[in-house]
Symmetry: C2
Subunit: 595 residues, 2 copies
């Protein structure tokens, strides 16, 4: 069976010991009071909720799925109560603004808590997760009237939110969309069209659902430049702010999906539904992206969160399941066989997962800490630098962590042998659920294109060079420490490969328009691996400092895992660099008809 225990110890290691976040918060306006003790209390309490309330519903949600009758969705048994526990406990409003009822805590804290929520029940996490996306778009772009009216109920979880972007013929290329918004005399619009893949488009948790919808106003500019964002409530609020008349927006069907079956994924029909403009006319994509970038960090973390559950489950199984003997002689001589954790190849799968998950946790929290700097630092230059760093690393966190999260889920399923393929054991669900993180909020190929096509060229490459400088400085800072050589040497090699790939790509892009796309996926992975190496260097340095006198084995395990990462996973970069330098020729040579 799948098992889950909140990784509070490791989260504390990253937050306090590696990143020293409360010290960082002390410099950030409005976050000065966020202490270690407060953080720990939040992690402990959130962890308990995830273990005791959310995780027990994880497998049941997959088995029951969502059902639709008369445009009403029924969510899996227990989901509505769990949603209530999440929202009433304030767990979905940690980083929301106090003026709308949020707790004004750092994004770093929110992300740490979200990891546990997603590990425990990803399908359930999506309902408040999408509300949070809508919250972000509204805070950034809506009028004060809309914000004051809608946000308190969305922050409390009383009302939920959705993001309605995709249509059946367009996802990545939203300029092709057909949904229309007809302006009315009272300043509102009537929205008509069909959106697909709408998470939480209908559900049975909340009194109202606030849809944020991309649509085109007739007569506007063609393509993406004519897209605007609208707020479309399921029920039009009356003067008291209570749900009033039913707006004609209906769930026409539920998609049958590979996984995340506890989440309702709806086809939504807008049949002249009343909506109001959010932000400027024809500037809908800007508002959407402000939300989407945050969601992309969240999705990368989701992929990782499923790898974490998979790891814990596989580690437990490997310690219990007996089969065969250790290659170096029986460890359970009185038993009929040894636990399979004695087998090097089983350990390979577990250590690989562990190295990706612990390193990835540090990476997403480090990026989240840049979000806090970008939002709260008194110095505008520091804020701007934080913003750019987040922009650069968002596609890497999204794609790399969802890739290694899914790969890890598959590896951990493999530890179970044939039982891993059987639903009862829970591992195949984790794989099916993880798979979506590589696809939604922009496929990982789209992320890679965003990285090489938009992010690397930012400021003529200066944003990337700043990042490379920081990585180099991190390596240099340990130059005098003999015990760090085994980590720094491979890190420097990885860094040199990344720099070479970057220079090659920038140069080649000038003459070959296909070059960035041809190397995009490999470049993103190279950058993700190097980013993880950076984190593992920091983790190893911290562990070396704290090791003396520790008898829990925690720091020793960190060093072993860092070593494993450097020796066995980081060398992937050699192959990636070779593949990048092969260029676009063999990729673009075939005529389309030859495929």
């Amino acid at each position: 069976m799948a098992t889950y225990a909140a990784p509070v110890r490791d989260l504390r290691f990253v937050l306090h010991e590696m990143l020293d976040v409360s010290n960082a918060f002390s410099e950030l306006e409005g976050l000065e009071a966020v202490s270690d003790d407060l953080l720990d209390a939040i992690l402990e309490e959130a962890g308990k909720l995830c273990e005791n309330v959310l995780f027990p519903l994880y497998q049941k949600g997959d088995e029951a799925g969502c059902t639709l009758a008369h445009a009403q969705v029924t969510s899996p048994p227990g989901f509505a109560d769990a949603y209530k526990a999440l929202t009433e406990g304030g767990w979905t409003a940690l980083s929301c603004a106090p003026e709308y009822g949020g707790q004004g805590l750092p994004e770093t804290v929110k992300f740490a808590v979200e990891e546990m929520i997603c590990s425990a029940n990803m399908a359930l996490s999506l309902y408040p997760g999408l509300t949070h996306g809508a919250y972000r778009a509204l805070t950034g772009y809506a009028s004060a009237a809309i914000k004051d009216f809608y946000l308190p109920k969305m922050v409390s979880g009383e009302w939920s939110g959705t993001m309605c972007l995709t249509e059946s013929h367009c996802g990545t290329d939203l300029g092709l969309m057909r949904t229309r918004a007809e302006p009315q005399d009272d300043g509102s619009f009537l929205i008509s069209g069909t959106k697909i893949f709408i998470t939480g488009g209908e559900q049975d948790f909340t009194d109202n659902i606030i849809h944020l919808v991309l649509a085109k106003i007739p007569g506007g500019p063609p393509g993406i430049r004519g897209v605007s964002l609208f707020l479309v409530p399921k029920f039009l609020p009356d003067a008291d702010g209570d749900p009033g008349a039913r707006n004609p927006v209906f769930c026409g069907a539920l998609e049958k999906k590979m996984g995340i079956k506890g989440a309702s994924t709806c086809v939504m029909n807008f049949e002249g539904a009343r909506g109001w403009l959010v932000g400027e006319q024809n500037k809908g994509m800007r508002a959407m992206f402000s939300m989407m970038n945050h969601e992309r960090l969240w999705v990368g973390m989701q992929g990782l969160s499923l790898g974490v559950t998979a790891y814990q489950s596989a580690a437990e199984y490997a310690k219990e399941r007996v089969q065969g003997r250790s290659p170096s002689g029986p460890v359970n001589a009185q038993g009929s066989a040894d636990p399979i954790i004695v087998h090097p190849d089983v350990r390979r799968m577990l250590m690989t997962t562990r190295a990706y998950m612990e390193g990835g946790r540090a990476l997403y929290l480090w990026v989240a800490s840049q979000l806090d700097r970008a939002a709260h630092h008194p110095d505008p230059q520091v804020r701007a630098a934080g913003d750019k760093r987040v922009a650069l690393l968002t596609p890497v966190v999204k794609a790399f962590l969802s890739d290694v999260g899914t790969e890890s889920a598959i590896a951990c399923q493999q530890v179970f042998g044939g039982h891993g393929y059987i639903r009862e054991w829970g591992m195949e669900q984790i794989v099916r659920d993880a798979r979506i993180t590589q696809i939604y909020e922009g496929t990982n190929g789209v992320q890679a294109m965003d990285l090489v096509g938009r992010k690397l060229p930012m400021e003529g490459g200066a944003v990337m060079r700043d990042y490379l400088d920081e990585l180099r400085a991190a390596a240099d800072s340990h130059a005098g420490t003999a015990a760090m050589v085994e980590f720094i040497a491979p890190f420097r090699s990885a860094l040199a490969r990344l720099e070479e790939a970057f220079d090659w790509l920038m140069e080649r892009a000038a003459t070959d328009p296909s070059a960035p796309g041809a190397s995009a996926t490999e470049f993103l992975r190279l950058m993700g691996l190097t980013g993880l190496a950076h984190m593992w260097v920091a983790a190893a340095a911290t562990a070396l400092e704290k090791m003396e006198g520790d008898n829990t084995g925690f720091y020793a395990a960190k060093l072993t895992t860092a070593r494993f990462f450097m020796q066995r996973l980081l060398p992937q970069g050699m192959a990636l660099l070779a593949s990048i330098r092969a260029g676009s020729e063999s990729l673009m040579a075939l005529e389309a008809e030859a495929f």
Copy 2:
């Protein structure tokens, strides 16, 4: 939607142009008459059956699944008729012995046809596939009486067969099994115990089901040395050979699985069922392995076959779906967007799949041709060499092809974006189905251990060195051809890496018992990649010869794909070698409790 067209042209390229099989058959006893024309007729006819009868049931079989009531299984609608079409057409008896009603054709031909059957409907293919496994074990080890009595009906498909190995607490380590066989005075045995994961343990296609069951005779040697093989029919045949009394062996449950839902995967309860010994007492594993090695080649090919269907489906989609614009300017300027095949990253996924699938097809057919040499060559030394080559490469074909098949299925699902995650489109089924090929018939980790622990050390490493010699000779044979340099140079580098890894591993294994297991998976992949490079060298050489005057683009596409493989996939070996040479230390350092 998923689409499938039998790849007859490419099968012919491998069989006739690369391997020149009919010429090879002319030297093999009993296969002299197998001509190119006969082969082509078989491929064409089998291809039509796969396209028109099997593939239309593929998705329906997944949706309907199998159901169990009163120990009776109902298979998906249409499956029984399709099974009849397969068996009555003789498609499941191609390589069976004429004395039992088979067609006595080469294994090479059987495997080529099986690829199409599995591509078209893997779940359905498993029923006759397991019968064939049972056929092989019986031909090799059963008494003449059993063979004469049972084999004709199994070859005709009138009766089916199963392989009952796994119990809930033991799969890889069969020595732990608890199923018992009590000897009776009449020479038969009464079998009691529960077996799990029994494909086709019950179905509604055939009048009788012949179970081959591993069990222990009380008082025998402990562990694996006390395991015997028994034949246990569902209905005890009467004197006329017709199904008579019901033998107490019942399907207790159907497993709920991630995929291959059209195949019944049964828990089988043997309640004192009557059985007969197959082969010698306590030598059951030997008979089982004779069957299992063949099944392992078949499973590797299965993984590949699903990658083939995934590729065709994704290529069609990529040519039709419009989204965004080509980086080098619109190719569909009058339309609203370009087909996504213009995007380099989409091509990366398709070319990767294509390079693995076409190279993998050549590899499994080359190994199958060694099976034919091993069985039919007049010279016993050639037969023995063929046997050893097959033994060496069986774990590579099984694990490497199922790995790249599943990776390819995932990549092709990714081409579909969000639609890839929706059941209706069929891609997520292919991924779920492909996943089992990495698990059953020995997980891919078990294959890797078999390779490094048993196969590499055969004859002190001589079998592996013979293979390396053949690879080197293949490289040398093109030394004078300028147009081959771009293929030979990377192939030589790969070969050097494989040789270095082999020497390192053999040396290290002498002092570190964990070393083989620690590098097993990476070594197997390195060997698979190098084996594919060998095939791509041969394919490129053939294409260069035939290219002149060809206006179909077939040979030009072969060269492009060979180039892509060499430039972008083969470099993985650099990382694998580094990982192998890292040894077992960081893998084995952690105490079990630290996981």
